[in-house]
Subunit: 373 residues, 2 copies
């Protein structure tokens, strides 16, 4: 882990760049909005820590009513449990004896659950849980349209749930029914349709579980692009939203109900960069590239400056092209960039620099940065 | 920094995945090939540490004849100098008083140089160098066609060199003339033409320097895609090659002289992943996605398995589609992935796991991972 990029109380001009910035006002409003949604809809929120990778943020979400956290890897679960999170769901398959043992060890200190889509994995986890004398919560992952992991909905899912229910050391707790592909569908109507079809898949599976006399405590899924649909469905009861705390350009591009842009949450995450060269009147180069933000969803947007676009990204540079209405930039000037995709961007940094009213107010370690195993 | 993903001596099957693997045989052959090229061409090699971010690899390159290292950031320079590298060139502009002071501090322990493309930066660095009582090497960066940083070739460059030569604490050492855009041009002929035009720009600048009576010790540039052209030019004398130690799919796609694929170096860098789900006969999901390899150059290639393609990448998953000739994969099986772009992929990991003959032989920390500031 590299040195902190700033001191508490420092002005923004004194932050060493490139740095990952959290606008604390916007961030807190995002958390409060989702908490309010959970209260009014009556649907639980279990935010996804794969976005923020930080116990500091997890505990803030939980203080506002979130019931725990999701993670995608055992490494993330370790960081969260060590950081004081009492309830963690690995919303993913966990493969390998060593990883299962690491997870079972955490179940001594926290409520731990994980997902399954094969009988062999159920048997492996059951053996490890017995060995450790712990009980692991178990969800059956069903494929509701994402075509990634998961068993087909209906009887296949119920059969796997039965195997879990019969497996010592495992407790069948419900269904993982996340539709990842739906999150970024461009229109509101497309997303609504995708989730309607996911809801059908869940209902079919709930019927099959009922026929097996299996109680389904959790129906989990949803992301920042679709959570209101899942909440409205009457079948989903746990929302695994992640990006809402930060937002990114990939979510900002999707449409909302009235055809405008999706604006339910605010951009609170930025990469702060510095202009290192202004070789021509219409070009400025900043010191932040692929090692400071992920670009597989396109280059970042420039925040708060008119008619300036990032047109080219290399490993350590971003090339800004200034249009006719743009204010000229000077060497040494700071620029705020909105990342294309928040999750892999966060994973490039060691620290969040939380700012408010022009000052550094918080420094939070991104403790699960790189915890991919 | 996260735990080591393996023990020395362990078999590959026992490596915790996802992990970044170096095939030591291929890696050593790549270093030896570039060293041999340097000897026969008589052109110095100063490999770029922005690719590997590791003193362990830097020192191996130097032991084979490399004259030092390039870096892109002050943080990388700090890690290399602390790790024993005696000669470091920051092939980039360094902006900000704090960064200049960090660099000047290193000049007490190592030979340090950096690049300039503005008079204001020359004056700032001169003040800091005097303050620290050190001498910083200084290169003028000229734009040879990349349209990123750099002053125009010719008189403008010579004027900046003159300012450097007159600035206390700075020593004018030469030209930074890197043509980044040329590296991945698809055909050999396109790359040859791009570098021919860069060479013209260098010659024009050398003439202007001669008119100013300024000695130009270093003409630096080149990358893995073009270094032979720069070496042949008679004007370049330092090659800043980086990716050749590892290779990636982005370099493997460019053409060589006879129209085939570029094969001067071997793939030595892999992301080792594990199959976590095989939901259908033609699909396998691995536990490595955007947080284990960068994908802005497209998804990784699957190494050593026929008729299997990564068609979709999410944060922690890769989706493999198996064609009719593919061998079926099982849950728990390991898959070797060749990253699209090696530099930002390396920057996602804490450790290199060096393997040979099926065993873990080396564990090298990626000490400058995240050192972007």
């Amino acid at each position: 882990m590299h040195p902190q990029p700033a001191e508490i109380g420092a002005s923004i001009a004194d932050i060493e760049t490139p740095a990952l910035i959290v606008d604390l006002d916007a961030f807190e409003r995002n958390i409060a909005r989702m908490a309010e949604f959970s209260r009014t809809s009556g649907v639980r929120v279990r935010p996804h820590a794969k976005t923020h990778k930080s116990p500091a943020i997890a505990l803030r979400q939980i203080a506002q009513g979130a019931i725990g956290q999701c993670v995608q890897t055992v490494g993330e679960a370790e960081v969260l449990v060590r950081g004081g999170v009492p309830d963690v769901l690995v919303s993913n398959e966990v493969v390998g004896e060593r990883k299962l043992r690491r997870l079972a060890a955490l179940a001594r200190d926290a409520t731990i659950a994980l997902c399954f889509d094969s009988a062999g994995q159920v048997d492996a986890a059951s053996r490890v849980a017995q060995d450790f004398g712990v009980e692991l919560g178990a969800l059956v992952e069903i494929d509701v349209g994402m075509e990634r992991c998961g068993v087909p909905p209906g009887k296949a899912a119920a059969a796997l749930a039965r195997r879990i229910a019969d497996a010592p050391g495992l407790t069948f707790r419900g269904l993982q029914a996340y539709h990842g592909r739906a999150q970024h569908l461009p229109t509101y109507q497309q997303r609504a349709q995708a989730i309607a079809s996911a809801v059908d898949a869940v209902r079919e599976t709930l019927d099959a579980l009922k026929a097996e006399d299996l109680n389904c405590e959790i129906v989990a899924g949803a992301g920042t692009g679709t959570f209101a649909f899942e909440a409205d469905s009457g079948v989903y009861n746990e929302l695994q939203v992640g990006s809402y705390v930060f937002m990114d350009t990939d979510y900002a591009r999707i449409g909302n109900k009235d055809g405008g842009r999706y604006t339910a949450f605010e951009h609170s995450l930025f990469v702060l960069a510095t202009v290192i060269s202004t070789p021509t009147a219409d070009r400025a180069i900043v010191n932040a590239g692929l090692k400071s933000y992920s670009a597989e969803k396109g280059p970042p947007w420039v925040h708060g400056l008119d008619d300036i676009e990032v047109t080219n990204v290399s490993d350590e540079h971003g090339k800004l092209v200034l249009g006719p209405k743009a204010k000229r930039l000077s060497v040494g000037e700071q620029v705020w960039l909105i990342p294309g995709h928040c999750d892999p961007t966060v994973n490039l940094h060691d620290w969040y620099v939380g700012v408010r009213n022009g000052r550094v107010e918080a420094l939070w370690p991104i403790a699960a940065r790189g915890a991919s195993a």
